[in-house]
């Protein structure tokens, strides 16, 4: 049954499981309006890559990686005209929840690292995958982002 665990699910199932989370992530990074375009582009890219996947492991991190790349492209393309949405965070990290409304001010890599770590609980290994960097670099980006947030907050 090991094979079944790693099997690539039908895209519909992958999409249903990931779409809300990815949309929320993109809204945090880009603001809600830009997130709508980025959302479609993210899942179209996922479809283009889907047939080439060799197994179904790490699909969540894979989806975040694509979304992060799309968000980075989007920000390069456009001058930001709006502040990212303030999305209520209902996890048990009051320190981050208090700081979240400030993440829009962080540089893109730090912003993605902080949101993925504290907003979505991804491991540094997976965040590294999403950012195209090592786990160590991802950890450094997240802690640097959090330090910057705390300085701005105080």
């Amino acid at each position: 049954m090991m094979e079944a665990v790693a099997a690539i699910p039908p895209f519909e199932r992958f999409y249903e499981e990931r779409r809300d989370e990815i949309f929320g992530y993109l809204a945090r990074l880009l603001g809600r309006d830009a997130a709508e375009d980025a959302f479609q582009e993210t899942f179209l890219r996922a479809l283009r890559g889907y047939a080439k996947l060799e197994h179904g492991r790490h699909l969540r991190a894979w989806a975040f990686r694509i979304a992060t790349n799309v968000a980075v492209d989007e920000r390069r393309r456009s001058v930001p005209t709006e502040e990212p949405d303030e999305i209520p965070v209902t996890d048990e990290r009051p320190a981050y929840a208090e700081l979240e409304h400030l993440v829009g001010e962080l540089p893109p890599t730090e912003r993605a690292a902080v949101v993925l770590r504290y907003g979505y609980d991804l491991s540094y290994h997976d965040i590294g995958g999403a950012l195209g960097s090592s786990a160590e670099a991802a950890r450094a980006a997240a802690s640097s982002g959090v330090r910057r947030l705390r300085r701005r907050h105080s």
């Binding site: 690539i8 699910p9 039908p10 895209f11 519909e12 199932r13 999409y15 779409r19 809300d20 989370e21 949309f23 929320g24 809204a27 709508e36 959302f39 479609q40 899942f43 179209l44 479809l47 283009r48 889907y50 047939a51 996947l53 949405d85 999305i87």
Partner: protein
């Protein structure tokens, strides 16, 4: 948690189909015999299921055609329209391409022959076996029909036992009887 707005979800599903990125698109069509799952590959209609719960079908579709299986309405619009017309008694022949490529040779030959049995007519497993040049294969023909992936359009409901008994139907004998009744087929006995 912010959910994806319905309109955005719909736009993505449309874009995925119009950019040709899907192995299979499917949707649920309402019908007098209950909701049907209707699926199409880029070659044509590839599945009609009486089980409207997609979960049961998605894995099988992904195995047969590829993993990019997504619910998307427009690729199956035409099939849905023709099915509506059929159930309203306004259509006798389907003008739809079908995709039988993943099926074993024997089953494909049986189903291709089956499509020639006209609306409102019935035929027997034995006669169908004869027509594919394999007169002793009536039982194997029955097996091939039982696994027909595109019932209604590939009309396995028109095949009955040599005594005229309905014998069997993947969707249940009630549905077989309803389809033959709709077509005005006269059952012996």
């Amino acid at each position: 948690m912010t959910g994806v707005p319905d309109e955005l979800d719909r736009r993505f599903r449309e874009a995925a189909a119009s950019e040709g990125l899907l192995d299979v698109a499917y949707d649920i069509a309402e019908s007098p015999i209950g909701p049907l799952l209707v699926a199409a590959s880029d070659r044509g209609l590839c599945r009609i299921s009486f089980d409207p719960e997609p979960e049961h079908e998605l894995e099988a579709l992904a195995r047969a055609f590829g993993p990019r299986v997504l619910r998307s309405a427009s690729p199956v619009d035409r099939a849905r329209r023709e099915l509506d017309e059929y159930f309203e008694g306004k259509r006798q022949d389907f003008d739809l391409a079908v995709d039988l490529t993943p099926l074993p040779d024997f089953q494909r030959r049986v189903l291709e022959e089956l499509v020639r049995v006209p609306y409102g007519h019935i035929d027997t497993y034995g006669a169908l076996a004869q027509r594919i040049g394999n007169p002793r294969a009536a039982r194997a023909v029955g097996g091939a029909l039982n696994r027909n992936p595109i019932p209604i359009v590939v009309p396995c409901h028109r095949i009955v036992g040599s005594t005229g008994s309905l014998v069997g139907y993947a969707g249940g004998l009630e549905i077989k009887r309803a389809l033959l009744g709709l077509e005005g087929a006269i059952l012996p006995g």
